[in-house]
């Protein structure tokens, strides 16, 4: 395997792994604190059981996310030293603040996990909230750094020199808000549906139903709210990308020719050589409206961009279609659940609704990975959009393929172990956490 490809794959794998763990670690504390809040307010012990069970999940995912994040901070230099040499001082601000947020998160988690019955109950609860808030803040900061790669700011690039560096401007680059918003909501959508799906499955199996029902409800409500907000943030992102990275938008949509009143292409197989998309559904003028807010607005196609600056069209297009498609399915399910909550209470007990949630369990994470693929592959061939090419950033050390195999093996085994641990935590709910079933059994 070529070193450059190996480095890209290793980075993609590391981030793809980290993104799942950090999103769970970022969102689960909010679920945990919600259950904890109900326990403190209503004194219903089932909520306490749910809180404790979820806190184990938070601990496992936080540690795995922290470890994979530490690895990433080294991998940036190990794989992309030419990039880091120039980018580090410019986009380092969010990373140095993220260090603080992450540290606070670790401290608060220490208080929370080991603090049961040792502190004032509300202080203890508050440390859980701090875990969630600082986790979310870390996420926003890291995404702001990634946004800088899409929308470089805070320096002047003159004759290959990076001059007049302003780290604060770099952090608040044009893309930070739309990207961070989209990512945070995505974290809630994917974790919400994943957690709700797991508990729905346990309800269907008839195990510890009371426990899983409370847990399901909290996760499903978070997922519903987030899934309804996500299209709005998606629209902000689309307009943003259209203005700033026309090549990315063109690749997402497999939009080969610049035109006014451009149609929205759904699905299909892009044929890059003949610049057409086969078997696609086309909605007239919809792309122009989405990108510009005007049905007759002009959308730049790939023909307006030099060929050497084209991102890989097929991957970006498929990933984008997958993300939007799954997002729509989850939105549909969210609307059904919302309708059931306010109008059709008896639906909430029906098996078909729970089954739909079970089916949706992995959807959020698949969409999350697909969205990440869109933003990263769609930026290629640039590592810093319009400034530095990815191929120029890679380490001079040969043999990166071996490092890629090694890390892939490590990440796959970690994913397997974490899945086993979760499976065990979930199947042991009856014994470990559900106090109502324990009294029944004994």
């Amino acid at each position: 395997m070529e070193d450059f490809l190996a480095a890209r794959l290793q980075m993609a794998f590391s981030l793809g792994f980290h993104i799942v763990f950090s999103c769970i670690g970022m969102v689960m504390p909010f679920f945990m604190c919600t259950a904890h809040y109900f326990w403190l307010k209503k004194k219903d012990p089932v909520y306490l059981d749910v809180t404790k069970a979820w806190s184990k999940g938070v601990a496992i995912f936080f540690a795995t996310g922290a470890v994979s994040g530490t690895v990433l901070s080294f991998e940036l230099g190990l794989l992309w030293p030419r990039f880091m040499e120039h980018a580090g001082p410019i986009f380092g601000m969010p990373f140095s603040l993220e260090g603080t947020a992450f540290f606070i998160e670790a401290i608060a988690l220490g208080f929370y996990l080991y603090g049961w019955n040792k502190f004032h109950p509300w202080f203890h609860w508050l440390t859980g909230v701090i875990v969630g808030v600082s986790g979310l803040l870390s996420g926003i900061l890291v995404v702001a750094a990634n946004a800088w790669m899409n929308s470089p700011a805070g320096f002047d690039f003159i004759d290959g020199q990076y001059l007049n560096i302003d780290p604060v401007k770099a952090m608040f680059n044009d893309a930070w808000f739309s990207q961070a918003l989209h990512m945070c909501i995505a974290a809630f959508v994917s974790t919400g549906f994943a957690v709700a799906g797991v508990h729905a499955l346990m309800i269907l199996k008839g195990k510890n139903v009371l426990f899983h029902r409370k847990a399901f409800q909290i996760a499903a409500i978070f997922a519903t709210i987030a899934a309804c907000l996500q299209p709005i943030s998606g629209d902000i992102s689309a307009k943003d990308v259209a203005g700033r990275q026309p090549a990315k938008l063109a690749a997402m949509e497999a939009h080969f020719h610049t035109e006014k009143g451009a149609p929205l292409i759904i699905g299909g197989i892009p044929d890059v050589e003949n610049k057409t998309v086969k078997y696609a559904i086309k909605i007239p003028k919809a792309l122009s409206f989405m990108a510009t807010g005007d049905f007759n607005g002009e959308v730049k196609g790939l023909d307006s961009i030099p060929v050497e600056d084209h991102p890989p069209v097929a991957i970006t297009h498929y990933a984008f279609q997958l993300m939007v498609g799954l997002g729509m399915l989850m939105l549909g399910l969210a609307l059904i659940y919302f309708y059931a909550l306010i109008k059709k209470k008896h639906w909430l007990d029906s098996k078909w609704l729970l089954r739909l949630f079970v089916v949706a369990t992995p959807m959020g994470y698949i969409a999350l990975e697909a969205g990440w693929t869109v933003t990263e592959v769609g930026r290629q061939p640039w590592i810093i959009h319009g400034v530095m090419r990815t191929a120029d950033a890679v380490t001079p050390m040969p043999g990166i393929a071996y490092s890629f195999y090694l890390f892939t093996a490590v990440y796959i085994s970690l994913a397997v172990i974490v899945s086993v641990l979760l499976y065990r935590q979930i199947t042991m709910v009856g014994k470990l956490y559900d106090s109502s079933s324990q009294t029944k059994n004994s």
């Binding site: 470890v67 530490t70 030293p81 380092g92 601000m93 260090g99 401290i107 490092s403 199947t427």
Partner: protein, 338 residues
């Protein structure tokens, strides 16, 4: 402002060695404990380390972030030429962190524990070993930017007797910190006696490994003696470290835990001081006499200023919270035992 950043860098390295080191040491001690006592060792260690475990390892992230933001040339040179030991250390960090959590949070305590524990113990040795190698390699002058072939650029940059001996020395330091730390955590007199015996032995091992470092430096033509003995601060640091080591040894039996810990921490700080003082502001010494300096290879003014402010503001949040965490679990623990 660059000095503020350098102070943070040095302090974060020190705290990582002290806190992260004691934490690695806990795993190392598990390896060198007889089966009979293993359970007791583990129980004492994890009661003490549990709540602060995650926070101890954050210092490494702070070190890395300071390097890549403030001193990118230094970060990237080390990343390129010490790629292999860095990857080994990372594998250690991954294995250790996950094995620790997995063994504590596996809902079923079964045969899997037999998998987690060896991984945890072995990676507790491997990680500080490679950390030591990386630290030694950055000053051993073997990083060759002009190297033409793979072996001399990416292998001999770190594979030499000096680096290996410093790796070993780092492992012993971690074990030392852990045993001293644990003496104060024991509640049972038998446990205390056990760890005091261990601490005695570990002190001899540390001194042996330290002697090995000097011999290896001599064999590799690394002027370690000159670095330490050429100016007063280095000499004073080494003398103070030795005196406090002797005092620790005498005080072990009846000494108060806090005093012992202070001595141990003081020794490690002095060793780090002696090791870094004489090259300052250089932190990476290259083959051919060219060096990477914290002052000449620093980032542009605004970068350093904003990094400094971020660190200052961050520490306002972190330090009180961290102290409160340590303090409250200390007092809660003694309340429970009373």
């Amino acid at each position: 402002m660059v000095y503020v950043v350098i102070v943070f860098l040095w302090t974060a390295i020190l705290l990582y060695i002290l806190l992260g080191g004691a934490d690695f040491g806990a795993g190392i001690m598990e390896l060198f404990t007889s089966k009979k006592n293993r359970h007791r060792t583990r129980k004492n260690m994890y009661e003490a380390i549990g709540p602060v475990w995650e926070a101890n390892h954050m210092w490494l992230i702070i070190v890395i972030v300071i390097l890549f933001v403030g001193f990118p040339k230094i970060y990237t040179t080390v990343s390129v030429y010490l790629h292999i030991p860095l990857v080994c250390m990372l594998l250690g960090i991954i294995a250790r962190g996950t094995a620790f959590v997995f063994r504590n949070y596996d809902a079923v305590k079964d045969g899997m524990q037999k998998v987690y524990t060896p991984i945890f113990v072995v990676s507790s040795v491997v990680t500080p070993f490679f950390l030591g190698i990386i630290a030694a390699s950055s000053v051993s002058g073997q990083i060759d930017l002009q190297a033409a072939d793979f072996v001399s650029a990416y292998i001999f940059s770190w594979l030499n007797w000096f680096s290996l001996s410093v790796g070993l020395f780092t492992v012993t330091i971690c074990a030392y910190l852990a045993t001293i730390f644990i003496i104060g955590e024991t509640t049972h007199p038998d446990d205390r006696a056990l760890f005091i015996r261990k601490a005695r032995r570990v002190i001899f091992v540390v001194m042996g490994a330290g002697a090995l470092v000097f011999m290896a430096a001599y064999a590799e033509n690394i002027p370690l003696m000159d670095w330490i003995f050429s100016d007063y601060p280095g000499v004073i640091a080494l003398v103070l470290a030795t005196i406090s080591l002797v005092l620790t040894f005498i005080e072990l039996n009846k000494g108060h835990a806090i005093i012992l810990r202070f001595f141990a921490g003081f020794q490690v700080s002095m060793i780090l001081f002696a090791a870094t003082y004489s090259h300052f502001p250089d932190i990476v010494l290259l083959k051919g006499g060219e060096n990477l300096s914290l002052l000449t290879h620093q980032g542009q003014y605004k970068t350093i200023a904003s990094l400094g402010w971020a660190l200052l503001i961050g520490s306002v949040f972190i330090l009180p919270a961290l102290f409160y965490l340590i303090y409250s679990f200390r007092t809660k623990k003694s309340e429970q035992h009373d």
